[in-house]
């Protein structure tokens, strides 16, 4: 028995070594599958209907995850450099409010209602505003040596209050129609064909990256993965992408929208109705683009290298000639800009800027980063981990809503999951080093 166990273990270890797959990544995917199956089966057996693993729910999940995921990528860099940002939820609300005021109160006056430049100006203003406030907080942290915890705790209160003042306590709606598309919804998607095209492009990129990586390693005489491992990784990666495309395309537009669309375009609806797919929604595309850009920044650029070096040993980074104060300011500014992007997504989805927008988001964002393997000790964290972490958090949240847990229980579960995740993370690190 024990011999057998040893044998299977070593096979697994060999497999992991050959594929160079991160065990943490596997763990997170495993947790995600458990959560998804758990909620689905719970619904199936207890409520008589498994609602989780349906195209509709998974599509919604992808949209809901986006704004947290966007911010979580920035929180990784913040936590890697041993800081924290508690202000992101309030800053999201404030940015959304500024954008609301911009596109509802100010721009229509000068440009006219529905002018095509309203949404781009609004988006740029919102993101720049986030970056500016982030930079301001960063200056206080880096140059005045006020701990990030305090500065951003202040920010949490200040920006929430400020958005209340700006909006005079009102909800600002409705947002510009084009702007609203950024939030998803039936029209805010790339449709079936677009999703297939995107999916195929992503598959090609995966193959290209694997191929290029192999060539680079060969060029410098480093060891390469065995061919079967390359094929397996490429195959599984592509299968996941194609699967995602099929799921997103399996969620049709609601009948009412189809009818309106058909009427507007003079299409006759046949007896069985028309099946118009959603496909990938804009928010998820934005989140993926941000994920790719942030991964690039974190792993392929000087900036990213400095972030991790500062996290590993701030004094050494400074002695190596890195301007750590400036870096800190830039990191918080980047966090602010990402919060601005998240604010675009969140307020576009709601088609309004409400006073409570983004409330408690900081907790979800921090939880996503930490569940994704970002360590509070500094120097360790990945962007993809944080995005998966955001998906885990949002899966828990929407799963509990779906099966009808009330919000008190939801909060308690999320809290427990966070603490347990960090505990497991500690165990994992102790065993791996």
């Amino acid at each position: 028995m024990s011999v057998e166990k040893k044998y299977t273990e070593s096979a697994l270890v060999r497999f992991l070594r050959a594929t160079e797959v991160d065990t943490r990544l596997l763990g997170m995917i495993g947790a995600l599958i458990l959560i998804w199956l758990g909620f689905h089966l719970y619904g199936h057996f207890v409520n008589g209907y498994g609602a989780f693993l349906t195209p509709r729910n998974l599509w919604n999940l992808s949209v809901q995850t986006s704004s947290i995921a966007v911010m979580a990528t920035g929180m990784v860099l913040v936590i890697v450099t041993r800081h924290i940002d508690l202000s992101v939820g309030s800053l999201l609300g404030f940015s959304a409010m500024i954008m609301g005021v911009m596109q509802v109160w100010i721009l229509p006056k000068f440009l006219g209602l529905g002018h095509p430049m309203i949404w781009p100006i609004t988006v740029v203003v919102g993101i720049a505003f986030g970056a500016l406030i982030g930079a301001f907080q960063g200056v206080l942290i880096a140059y005045l040596n006020i701990p990030a915890f305090i500065v951003t705790l202040g920010g949490l209160l200040i920006w929430r209050g400020a958005s209340y003042l700006v909006a005079r306590g009102e909800t600002i709606a409705p947002v510009d129609q084009t702007f609203a598309l950024i939030g998803g919804g039936p029209y805010g998607t790339i449709g079936a064909t677009g999703s297939w095209i995107l999916g195929i492009i992503v598959c090609l990129v995966i193959v290209l990256l694997l191929f290029n990586g192999r060539r680079q390693r060969k060029k410098f005489g480093f060891t390469t993965r065995p061919m079967w491992a390359e094929l397996l990784i490429g195959g599984v990666g592509s299968a996941l992408v194609i699967g995602a495309v099929m799921v997103m395309n399996a969620y049709p537009w609601p009948k009412g929208i189809v009818k309106k669309y058909a009427a507007a375009n003079n299409i006759e609806i046949p007896d069985g109705g028309i099946f118009i797919s959603h496909g990938f929604a804009f928010p998820i595309l934005i989140a993926l683009a941000v994920g790719v850009a942030m991964t690039f920044l974190a792993t392929r650029t000087r900036f990213g290298r400095y972030v991790f070096a500062i996290g590993g040993n701030p004094e050494a980074a400074e002695l190596a000639g890195i301007n750590t104060k400036k870096m800190t300011m830039l990191i918080f500014s980047l966090m602010g800009a990402l919060t601005g992007i998240a604010a675009v997504i969140a307020s576009a989805r709601l088609k309004s800027a409400t006073l409570a927008l983004g409330q408690f988001d900081e907790l979800y964002v921090i939880a996503a980063a930490v569940i994704g393997g970002t360590s509070f000790a500094g120097g360790i964290g990945t962007i993809y981990g944080a995005i998966l972490g955001a998906l885990v958090m949002q899966s828990l949240q929407s799963g509990m809503v779906l099966i009808g847990f009330d919000s008190a229980i939801q909060q308690m579960v999320v809290g427990c999951v966070l603490v347990i995740a960090v505990f497991l993370d500690n165990l994992y690190r102790r065993n791996s080093v």
Partner: protein, 269 residues
Amino acid sequence: MNTQATEQQNTHAATPLVEMKDISISFGGVHAVDNASCDLYPGEVVGLLGHNGAGKSTLIKILSGAYTRDSGTIFVDGKKATIDNPRHAKDLGIETIYQTLALADNVDAAANLYLGREILTRWGTLDDAAMEAETRKVMNRLNPNFTRFKDPVKQLSGGQRQSVAIARAIHFNARILIMDEPTAALGPAETEQVGQLIHQLKNDGIGIFLISHDIHDVFDLADRVVVMKNGAVVGSAKTTDVTKDEVLGMIILGKCPAGATPGPGASTD
């Protein structure tokens, strides 16, 4: 031949590479360095000696830009130098191996070697492959047994980490090299290798501050010693003009022998 060259430079008062004059710094009332002066000529090895806590590391950290002095002046190539942060020092060709090594533990040897001076591809991204290839070359010369290029340096042994720190300091054409207890974690063979390295660098005309609390590490390698005690300079002497025992007396008692030039920290009795 080389010692002759050094001799010449010293006696004929060529401009020193570095001159630190009347440097003081205190930390909350502790005078870590008190009115200390010393200089360094091209191709010269100056041993900076003293007990633990004498102020050696603090003094050279002022030269390397890690600390900003409270008072005093630094001249590099005879010109007054502003060294307010490590970047300034590096721009002047001052490289440092810190006693703590100052490595980013979570990244690999190549990332540490090139930290702050990364090789970039023509698209402005990190060229990790090139940096690793270069690192393999440097480390091969310095410590041929070193093979763990992919591991974060926190997983390396003390000696391996020290090799990385040394490699980093010598790789970028330093003119002035500061080595703060560079062999503390090394075995005899590696220490010997560092000794050879110092000879070689000296021949290239690099000026070296070699810091140690142990006279045996320094005496045979150094052209001159500067001894510190309680933050002040006891005195300085050419190693040809004093014996090891006399230098020990300087370190322990603060007593300046006849062959040495006394400093403000020399005991007066």
